[in-house]
Amino acid sequence: MSTPETAAGTIAGAGAGTTATRKKRHLSAYVALFPAFIIVLLAYVVTVVWNIWISFTDSKVLPVNIFVGTKQYERLFTTARWLISLQNVIVFGVLFIAGCLILGFLLAVALDQKVRFENTFRTIFLYPFAMSFIVTGLVWQWIMNPTLGLQKVADSIGFTWIRFDWIVQSDLALYVIVLAGIWQSSGLVMAIMLAGLRGVDRELWKATRIDGVPAWRVYLHIVIPILRPTIITASVLLAIAVVRVYELVLATTGGGPGISTEVPGKFIMDYLFGRGNIALATGASTVMFITVVILVTPWLYYEYFREKPRGS
């Protein structure tokens, strides 16, 4: 972080920078940053400010500037659909992140045991990550189809007591989405963790073997703590997927049965474009915005804005 200034200083000191050329240099840097600046200003800053402002107005189908205070927020938190969305995103988030981390970690550990066909296995575990959530959702919707999918297979071999019709059960449909999500994303965790495991010092393994420490204890007490940054990164990535979850729900259940698998992302889209209540929708997105800012700002600061030597 500190070196660039030093470098600029060195150049100036080397005589390349008279005041005129310095100004010119800065000018061209501003020109280079101009597109990004415009994008950040219009698409990120103005939109967020506008979004927050509208959430305090009485806008319905069209945005209006009638200030109504926190009315929309009061309405939002008495709307069953929103409360269910919040509850769902929390349940989905916890199960999805935990599921991906556990499965991803186990797969990475398994692949790290000098197995044969490692490349083939890795390819198989990761390919779903190349697929979109829409495709993922549609595939799992088809497998979980109560009359033609897994249920039919179970019935036809006589296991009629097995129920695979979760997708039409309002209390179970969310777990189909969790399953589809884990199928799509755990390969990512596997890839990240495998890279992390390969970075663990081989001497450490030698030492623990000599001391006769069982492998599982080494993983639990030494390797997992070493992998902490990797685990945090994977969790952050998965958490972004959780707050943005929309397409997966749309393609798997469409939010149903009823409103049992609604999520905030879908709630907002529906109220913006389908149900014509912009103020309520912007209120909901403001809630999401504030939640995310509170959650990620400390992590971002820690990760990117502490003074660190260049190239680390």
Binding site: I39, Y127, F129, I134, W142
Partner: protein, 302 residues
């Protein structure tokens, strides 16, 4: 890691276990791997066999059974005649729309992001840190926050629901991650190189085009892979910003599958699903380790 090298490492390896005979632990390990592989492969298998069956067979048979009569008819239908609501031009319309969206979006987002990343890491000017902070934060904020105001901005400018509109949108939302990617990459390059070019009198643009771009081929490949898969798989922006004539493949696919008219043609739906997944899958299988590098570098610190 390729097989020969990992075997070589295993020979003198710290875990010391040479798998010469199968111990119960090894059998357990492989059982786990095989079961996991089946779990990951199952949907792909079901998709493929379903797409090759006829509808009567789908209704009678089970989803895992091989087709009794193989037919490619569903594929032809999915590609050229399947109905998305009122129009019946198949998924091919969406395919070409996705291509039209993908290529310019990719070029524009990579160009602006690499330029920004370069300027941020070598030409530190006032306000650059603020710009970078907002960009970083932007990478984490749910898209739903930006969507409606952007619709209004695009309407104001008069480009809403057009090809430029969706291209700009992909550039806008590709910017945070790609800029981070390029910034981290350029930060790892030796400062001396840059200084030497400065002393030789090269300006910002000269250094960018003649020094940085040629040196960033590996990271450009990573960025391209990220963008191809990301833009191709996008649904949300496509449905909101592209406009009916430019709906990308994912949106068309969803419309075909969730079209309420008539009987659900599962074989056609599955063929259309595979067709939609084909481009990112080709990128995935074709780029091998680069894909892994892409996804990890894309969001993880480089």
């Amino acid at each position: 890691m390729t097989m020969p090298s990992s075997v070589a490492v295993a020979a003198g390896g710290p875990t010391g276990r040479k798998p010469q005979h199968l111990s119960p632990a090894r059998i357990g390990l492989y059982t786990f791997l095989v079961i996991a592989a089946l779990f990951f492969l199952l949907p792909l298998y079901v998709m493929i066999v379903t797409s090759l069956k006829s509808m009567p067979e789908i209704r009678q048979g089970n989803i895992f059974a091989f087709p009794r009569v193989w037919t490619g008819e569903a594929w032809v239908q999915a590609w050229s005649t399947a109905c998305t609501g009122l129009e019946c031009g198949g998924i091919s319309v969406g395919f070409w729309n996705s291509v039209k969206i993908l290529i310019p979006s990719m070029i524009m987002s990579i160009f602006i992001s690499s330029l920004t990343g370069y300027a941020l890491s070598f030409w530190r000017v006032k306000g650059a840190n603020v710009l970078f902070a907002v960009l970083l934060l932007g990478a984490f904020i749910p898209y739903q926050v930006f969507i409606y105001p952007l619709v209004l901005i695009y309407r104001g400018v008069g480009i809403y629901s057009t090809l430029p509109c969706i291209i700009i949108t992909h550039t806008v939302f590709g910017l945070p991650v790609l800029t981070l990617l390029f910034r981290n990459y350029y930060s790892s390059l030796p400062m001396e190189l840059f200084k030497a070019a400065r002393v030789d009198g090269a300006g910002l643009w000269q250094i960018f085009f003649r020094l940085m771009i040629p040196m960033s081929i590996p990271i450009l490949v990573v960025a391209a892979i990220l963008q191809v898969t990301g833009i191709w798989n996008d649904f949300l922006f496509g449905v909101v910003f592209a406009g009916r004539e430019n709906f990308p493949m994912t949106v068309q696919l969803n419309n075909i599958v969730n079209s309420t008219q008539g009987e659900k043609l599962y074989n056609v739906n599955m063929a259309a699903t595979i067709l939609t997944a084909l481009v990112p899958l080709i990128v995935y299988f074709g780029s091998g380790r680069w894909f892994v590098r892409g996804i990890t570098a894309g969001a993880v610190k480089g």
